[in-house]
């Protein structure tokens, strides 16, 4: 469906405003549905806890870590819930 068709159906005349709202709608859709998935990989560094997330991330689908002893398979890891006892380790 073109932007023009959406504008005509919704009765909007302002193109820029319509495009902004369509972008918002896509953001809502990506937040709740799995329409467009992307994958990014980065290295794990010994003693480093904090890792950057991709800037274009809307919602996380899964986090995996490479298992080098099982034929290099990426295996999904679990999310921790609740607070961690150690807030920072200065000598990891």
């Amino acid at each position: 469906m073109t932007v023009l068709e959406i504008m005509e159906r919704a009765g909007i005349r302002d193109t820029n405003l319509a495009i902004s709202w369509i972008k918002d709608a896509i953001h809502y859709i990506e937040s709740t549905q799995e329409e467009n998935l992307k994958v990014k990989k980065s290295g794990i560094i010994k003693g480093q806890r904090d890792y950057d997330l991709p800037a274009d991330l809307i919602s996380i689908n899964s986090i995996s870590v490479l298992d080098t002893e099982d034929d290099n398979k990426y295996k999904r890891i679990r999310r921790l819930t609740g607070p961690i006892e150690i807030s920072e380790d200065l000598n990891p």
Binding site: D24, G43, L53, P54
Partner: protein, 161 residues
């Protein structure tokens, strides 16, 4: 060498950062340097090894939100086995002729969302809520379109056959 990573690694979100922890298992009844014995034999530590490209993040993102060709029609459709999807080029500066890179149902949901925002702009909150309900209904319809569920009901013995 990482092993059994699905059991030994955990993640947690902290603001815009991903925190990665590794589960370290210690031998029970082995005293530390002070002679203390811990009753719990596991602890969470920072990753204890380098793994090249070891972290994989799968996530939802904007992927070509506006494209130049219709994403809902096949590029070639000769017969059952000869067909191909259109190659989509992103419209970096979307305009009225650009296509929204969504299927038909989600495009209709977009229409409802735009109507809702327009109603809010005009101060009609009740109408906005109505269109937002329609928006979410279409999202739900889109999800159910991906599933096929068959439900069988046993007919009672006394029913007319």
């Amino acid at each position: 060498m990482s092993y059994n990573t699905s059991r030994n690694y955990f993640w947690k979100m902290n603001g815009q950062k991903l925190h990665l922890y590794q589960l370290r298992k210690n031998a029970l009844l082995s005293p530390d340097v002070n002679g203390r014995i811990e009753s719990d034999d596991t602890e969470l530590v920072y990753p204890d090894e380098d793994i090249n490209n070891g972290l994989r993040v799968e996530y939802n993102a904007f992927v070509k939100p506006f494209v130049t060709a219709d994403p809902n029609s096949l590029a070639t459709d000769s017969n059952e086995t000869t067909w191909s999807n259109p190659s989509l080029t992103e419209a970096s500066s979307p305009e009225e002729t650009s296509h929204v890179n969504l299927n038909r149902m989600l495009s209709l949901a977009c229409v409802c969302f735009v109507q809702a925002q327009n109603a809010a702009k005009e101060g009609n909150i009740q109408l906005k809520e109505y269109y937002m309900r329609e928006f979410y209904k279409k999202l739900a319809d889109n999800e159910s379109n991906k599933k096929k569920i068959t439900i069988a009901f046993p007919s009672p013995v006394s029913s007319v056959r």
